[in-house]
């Protein structure tokens, strides 16, 4: 009994690490630009396909392919920002929602057309490997994803705190117009923010492919979880996203263990409703003022 409880907690934390990793880019983009990218899940799907094809054709191990996927996703983010989001910054929620939804549809169905609906996975040694800790088993590839989530979080925090562009991003997130008047090239910073947000989801794609198969609609499930994570963590709050990612992972796993595996997801969505009702600013509300 105790062992299985420990195992459930392990699984929950590791699933949470994956959710946190996926949500980092989304929350960064929202924090800086106040835009919710509804195509975020499709960005994840694209980067998983990248990792898959790099492995399939060139035999590049998914973790090694990170060095290729990260810059590639950064560039895709830049292009999306320059070509699409830039035109919508002033246009309000309506245009932002539907333009990114449209982009998601194009990517998802483009993938369906090009690569069919088949599930494609990568078999790696590490994917099958697991660690024994205190009587429970930890899937090594999931542990690595958790570590990646921590590294991405720390990396983003250092970037925002220590670099000039990071400072500019924090300034813009407070007041874009004022930052613009202070001589910050807001559009350029937006491009970099969107690029980095996409880069983060690129990391997630490469870390996930040893764990999950990729198929065209893989993103639409994960993006919903990412929404819950980002809202619970406080929109734009990077540490909050990490913490809430773990919480959501635990809730889903424990809920699935107590009831039925599939109902774990329902617990998460019920939680989503509760969060939106009672703490729409997220769990770390003290650090931010909304007025």
């Amino acid at each position: 009994m105790l062992a299985s409880v420990l195992q459930v907690v392990y699984n929950g934390v590791l699933l949470g690490g994956i959710y946190a990793l996926i949500s980092m880019g989304l929350t960064l983009i929202f924090g800086v630009m106040n835009v919710v990218n509804f195509a975020h899940g499709e960005f994840l799907m694209i980067s998983m396909y990248m990792a898959f094809w790099l492995y399939h054709f060139f035999g590049i191990h998914p973790y090694v392919s990170l060095v290729l996927i990260m810059p590639a996703m950064f560039i895709i983010g830049l292009i999306t920002q320059k070509g699409l989001i830039q035109r919508l910054i002033e246009a309000g929620h309506f245009a932002q929602i539907f333009a990114t939804v449209g982009l998601g549809m194009v990517l998802q169905n483009g993938a369906l057309f090009l690569w069919t609906a088949d599930f494609r996975g990568v078999y790696t040694e590490i994917g099958a490997h697991s660690l024994n800790v205190g009587g429970g088993r930890l899937s090594t590839s999931r542990v690595l994803a958790l570590i990646a989530a921590i590294l991405v979080m720390v990396g983003l925090l250092v970037f925002l705190k220590k670099t000039r562009i990071g400072l500019a991003m924090r300034a813009i997130s407070q007041n874009g117009r004022a930052a613009w008047l202070m001589g910050i090239n807001v559009n350029q910073v937006y491009m970099i923010a969107f690029g980095i947000g996409s880069l983060c989801v690129g990391v997630a794609g490469a870390m996930l492919i040893p764990v999950y198969s990729v198929f065209p609609t893989v993103g639409s499930y994960f993006v919903l979880i990412a929404f819950v994570v980002v809202v619970l963590g406080g929109m734009g709050d990077i540490v909050g996203a990490f913490v809430s990612g773990i919480i959501i992972g635990l809730i889903e796993t424990v809920g699935g263990y107590v009831m039925a595996p599939r109902l774990g997801v329902l617990c998460v969505f019920v939680l989503f409703v509760v969060i939106l009702l009672f703490m729409p600013s997220g769990i770390r509300v003290k650090s931010r003022t909304d007025s």
Binding site: L88, F94, V101, G102, L112, F113, F272, L277
Partner: protein, 602 residues
């Protein structure tokens, strides 16, 4: 909302006749199939339009309701042999109930949260329908046995389906027209344009959104039944997929969101296009078809954010309107120049000189800053009281706590002898008889001046006739009747200020809070506004509490002036007393001016 004073309506007659006769004229099953899908999708787009277009709540989860409708009627038909006509109503009702249970919590939140929640809703429906195999047979789907008869809502020939789909579309269009003309439509427009301003005019935003959501989800579910009876096969993927929801939203977006015919136009453009793509692409359609949909969505949002209908209104309507008056049924509206206003009559007028509003010890704290520090003010019925003070003195905060958009941290507010301290959503305060304008004007930019004022007028007026009459009177009163058909976004600042006045007056307030209605205007415009404010007091018997920096105006208008500085009440009295008050001069102009003023006086 929709006033029959336009020749354009004549244009709809031949188009409607054409649509009505189309199934009789066309025998080709291919074209009939396109026609059926055109009607069905136009109806589903119209259902989305009621909450999305009118109310500005962008759902991408309407496939959830569509699927609930299809599954409910189909399961009832298969297991209990219940006629789909009845199953359709049950499915619609179920869908409406679910929509309120699921979405009511989200209506307190704004913008993108609602969209995220709607997406999650449809996704949950998909998960449930896939895994609840004992009922839905999961991904295998449900096959409806083909037994043609009217009672089974299944027909041997496509023409009957064409009229069934047409009936559905007509139902949705009819409901859309009714909603748009009613109070609900007007209030939804207000919510879409500016929820804070709408609340200040007495709009109960959460309730309005719920009603609209119920209507919208009911109609979407009915569409689900019609669809199921037409294709006689349903499975989770074709009912609940996100791309289905997006499709519903896409039609009004392309055709013209928030217009009655927008979804129909959108469907007339996109449905034939869709069928053509399907036949060109063949097997590749499953991917590329939706790629095209996504691309159309992006291009539509970027290039034509207000849809085809906007373009038609701007380019086609004027030339139709300029045609000679050969058409019957065109009614010109008369502007009523009434001396006696129906508006204030709606509110009981009490004795003058008794206290209308009493604020006692009002305190509001932001962190360490006391925006209001134990402020006590009384405004008597029929008075005009000025509220002045330097920037940041707490003037607007005082208005915000009175109007219920912020809560007091201490103190008490009594209005018409009732305690309204805890009365928070602004619409409740407005209902009690307190109207306000905003320092930064908040017109509803994308609807006409007339419709702007109408949002307020519905508060006290039970019927469209009365509400419309009130609007015309008030527009005449503030001098905006020339602009009544213009969009609020096209007005000058002075006219936007008048519009704010008009909108607040339309709610028939006892007390009107005016927050810098003269700021940024030139001297001639200020004179005009002063004139209107005087007449609001004298002709409409509305009590006025005015924040104003234009000294000439506030000194001339006010019978009494209250001065705030750093959240504290520092002076109160007649205008001439205030002008000489040392503490006021010090607060406004600084210490050195005090000596200056004192020197010049001796």
């Amino acid at each position: 909302m929709v006033r029959i004073n336009s020749k354009v309506y004549v244009l709809f007659v031949p188009i409607s006749v054409f649509i009505l006769l189309f199934p009789l004229m066309v025998k080709s099953p291919v074209y009939l199939d396109i026609f059926i899908m055109f009607c069905l999708l136009a109806g589903l787009g119209g259902a989305w339009n009621i909450i999305g277009g009118y109310g500005g709540q962008f759902s991408i989860g309407h496939a959830g309701f569509f699927g609930i409708g299809a599954y409910t009627s189909t399961l009832l038909y298969m297991h209990y042999a219940l006629s789909p006509w009845i199953g359709m109503l049950i499915g619609g009702g179920l869908s409406a109930v679910i929509s309120v249970l699921v979405f009511y919590p989200f209506f307190r939140l704004r913008g993108v949260f609602f969209t995220m929640a709607s997406l999650a809703f449809a996704e949950i429906m998909l998960i449930l329908s896939v895994y609840w195999t004992s009922v839905t047979k999961g991904n295998v789907g449900l096959l409806i046995l083909f037994k043609p008869s009217l009672g089974h809502m299944m027909f041997a020939e496509k023409m009957s389906y064409a009229y069934l789909a047409l009936f559905y579309m007509a139902l949705v269009v009819g409901v859309s027209v009714l909603v748009k003309r009613a109070k609900l439509g007007s209030h939804l427009h207000g919510i879409r344009e500016d929820e804070d301003a709408a609340e200040s005019l007495g709009v109960q935003s959460a309730r309005c959104k719920s009603y609209a959501m119920m209507i919208s989800s009911f109609l979407a579910a009915v569409g689900g039944t019609v669809y199921a009876q037409y294709v006689q096969f349903i499975d989770p993927e074709t009912l609940f997929d996100v791309s289905i929801s997006v499709r519903f939203a896409l039609l009004p977006i392309i055709g013209g969101m928030g217009t009655v015919v927008g979804p129909v136009i959108g469907s007339a453009i996109l449905t034939p296009l869709d069928t053509m793509l399907r036949s060109w692409l063949g097997g590749a359609y499953s991917g590329l078809g939706f790629v095209t949909y996504g691309a159309v969505l992006i291009v539509g949002v970027l290039a034509l954010p207000e849809g085809v209908m906007r373009w038609v209104k701007d380019n086609i309507y004027p030339s139709i309107e300029s045609l000679p008056d050969f058409v019957w049924g065109v009614r010109k509206e008369k502007v009523v120049h009434a001396k006696k206003f129906i508006v204030p009559a709606a509110q009981g007028s009490g004795k003058s000189d008794e206290a209308l509003i009493e604020i006692e010890g009002a305190t509001k704290v932001y962190g360490g800053l006391k925006a209001l520090d134990n402020v006590s003010v009384t405004v008597n019925r029929g008075e005009i009281v000025g509220l002045i003070g330097p920037n940041g003195a707490g003037k607007t905060t005082l208005f915000n706590v009175i109007s219920g958009s912020q809560k007091l941290d201490g103190g008490k507010i009594t209005f018409k002898k009732q305690d309204i301290t805890k009365l928070t959503p602004p619409h409740k305060v407005c209902m009690e008889g307190i109207g306000r304008t905003f320092q930064v004007v908040k017109p509803f930019p994308h609807i006409t001046v007339f419709d702007n004022v109408l949002v307020g007028a519905w508060l006290r007026m039970g019927s469209a006739v009365l509400a419309h009459r009130t609007v015309r009177e008030i527009l005449h009163f503030v001098g905006l009747e020339k602009h009544q058909e213009h969009f609020a976004s096209n007005l000058t600042l002075a006219d936007r200020k008048r519009l704010e006045l008009a909108r607040a007056l339309a709610t028939a307030p006892d007390l009107l809070l005016l927050d810098e209605v003269m700021a940024g205007l030139n001297p001639a415009e200020i004179e005009e506004i002063i004139g209107i404010v005087r007449r609001i007091s004298s002709e409409m018997n509305v009590t006025l509490f005015i924040i104003e920096h234009v000294m000439r105006a506030v000194m001339g208008l006010s019978q009494r002036i209250v001065v705030l500085d750093y959240g504290k009440l520092i002076a109160e009295g007649k205008p001439e007393e205030i002008a000489k008050d040392e503490s006021v001069i010090k607060a406004y102009l600084g210490e050195e001016y005090l000596y200056h003023a004192a020197g010049s006086e001796t």
